[in-house]
Amino acid sequence: MRRPPHPLLLLGALLWSLLPLLWQLLTSLRTPEALVAPTPAAWLSGWTLANYRQVLLGQPPFWRYLLNSALVGGASTGLTLALAIPAAYGLQQQGLRLQRLITLLLLAAAKFPYVLLFLALLELARALGWGNQLLALAVPYAGLSLPLAVLLLRAALADLPPDLEDAARLEGLNLGQRLRRVLLPLLAPAIASTAILVFLFSWNEYPIALTWISRAELLTLPTAMARIAGSSVYAVPYGAYAAATVLGSLPLLALVLLFQRQIVSGLTQGSVRG
């Protein structure tokens, strides 16, 4: 009885989501003169790739920020999974009361507006000498991602038939073998969901990267972009900026297209099942 939606409604939703991004794409291809041209007539001329050239040949070049973000994202994802998988398994083994308590705390942490934490984390970074250490960012990022990651993985573990692990125990598989040979392959979809969400979080994180990293060549993408804007509050070089936005969005576009299923299931499972 459900009918396809009216095409105009669908088009409206897509335009609402994509138009601001498409405008960035358009902007990135225009000369500065064309962007501030007074008359519509001038809008049709002034196409250029100069903005991309400027961004990519900048000092440091733009791909450096992408690389930094990817490195931090990869390290945080790895660290988070390495801690979250055993933790989810361990949590599943606890008594019911303790399990409920820990789940509740993790849920509260997952909802926490983490911008509140930056000052104390900055102090910590200073005390440990972790300022301007790119990969050190993975530690707070993993800490911030862990509540959601553990909740997600535990929900997936709880969905596995308990007989499977019993059968493996009976066949003489020890804990490590059971995890590696039986549980992890079956958890693969949930692990993929978790990994992509953690990666996206690290890629996008702002306040901590802002306060921990000051050296230009170590900036992650969000902080680098904000710095471009902050350096000239009244006259942001919008063409170059738009080019940077497009370049910075492409990896995410690819991730979202490739993993939209995992992202959606992670997002909804993480909040609904916790």
Binding site: A167, R169, G172, N174, R181
Partner: protein
């Protein structure tokens, strides 16, 4: 078995089968199993029978080493295994859900256990080929569990259990997920396999038909306690208490109103219709069962069911009688059997 050959003088112990001594399991202040003692001989199939929550699956999990024993001992061929970890016991189990690894093929499922034990590849291949032969799984080797039918999955689960050449075989309602026809077809096959293994087997079920048809002996459990242990015939005709009497047999046994603290129970097929000198009854309903018919009767001593031939004719007035040696008397308050007969 291949790991160790019994030495002279040890032969008795090596082949003594399974022995449970006063086995108990308590959890969170609740007794799941109380004081279970029994023995299962090599090659014998023992069925654990009872309603859900009676302790039969608990017993199986204790034997497998999946749950810890609260008190008591488990001896397998003379060797105490009470505290041994599950993987070290040489005990195999077929789960109700089959517990096949969904991400592995049939061969992968069979191989995993052997592989982690460090068995060389060539030997693994031979063993797997043999068991695939035995259970007629040829052609299914590279399928995943999701691509198998219920009966095929059950065979794979059985193959995985047999493959390890266990000294004790545990089966947890292995046929409950199959349709009735398939169950009827598999029962004799399974029976033959279990007998042929030469090791004790324990078969958990809540289906009395299956227990009666498959087992050498049946242990009836209720609320964590053993009610009666014996051959199917003994349990049916000589029940130790009211629970066993009413749990076994379908249609269920007739319970007549208690008199003087004692209760009379009669199986529906042991009642006969007579023209006079019996207990007067009125017919309430007639149910055709094919070869037989079931009469629902009302009498001064309560409702009665009577099983008789399909061509039996009914003539008013109806009266019912039975042979005195068919009477089963129970203490009305304890439910225990009274051996004295009628007062």
């Amino acid at each position: 078995m291949e790991t160790r050959r019994p030495q002279a003088g040890e032969a008795d112990a090596a082949m003594s089968g399974l022995e449970l001594q006063r086995l108990c399991r308590h959890q969170a202040g609740r007794a799941l199993l109380e004081d279970l003692s029994l023995q299962v001989a090599p090659g014998e199939v023992l069925a654990l029978l009872g309603p859900s929550g009676c302790g039969k699956t608990t017993t199986l999990r204790l034997l497998a080493g999946l749950d810890p024993v609260s008190s008591g001992r488990i001896l397998l061929n003379g060797r105490e295994i009470t505290a041994e970890p599950a993987g070290a016991r040489q005990v195999a189990m077929v789960f109700q859900s089959y517990a096949l690894y969904p991400h592995l093929t049939v061969v992968g499922n069979l191989e995993l256990g052997l592989e982690v034990r460090g068995m060389p590849a060539a030997q693994r291949r031979d063993r797997i080929a043999a068991v695939i032969d035995l259970l007629q799984l040829q052609g299914l080797e590279l399928r995943r569990p999701a691509q198998l039918s219920g009966g095929q999955r059950q065979r794979v689960a059985l193959a995985r259990a047999l493959l390890r050449q266990p000294q004790l075989m545990l089966l947890d309602e292995p046929m409950s997920n199959l349709d009735a026809q398939l169950r009827d077809a598999l029962r004799p096959e399974l029976r033959q396999l279990l007998r042929g293994s030469g090791h004790p087997a324990i078969y958990v079920t809540h289906d009395q038909q299956e227990a009666l048809g498959l087992a050498d002996r049946i242990a009836v459990l209720h609320q964590g306690r053993l009610q009666q242990l014996g051959t199917p015939h003994a349990l049916y005709h000589d029940p130790a208490n009211l629970f066993v009497a009413s749990f076994l047999g379908r249609p269920a046994i007739n319970l007549l109103a208690a008199e003087a603290g004692r209760q009379l129970a009669l199986r529906p097929e042991h009642l006969q219709l007579v023209s006079q000198g019996g207990l007067p009854v009125q017919l309430r309903q007639r149910e055709w069962l094919g070869a037989q018919q079931l009469l629902w009767l009302e009498s001064s001593r309560g409702p009665l069911k009577l099983l008789c031939g399909a061509d039996q004719t009914l003539e008013e007035p109806l009266e019912v009688s039975w042979r005195v040696d068919r009477e089963l008397w129970f203490d009305a308050s304890s439910g225990e059997r009274c051996r004295l007969g009628p007062l």
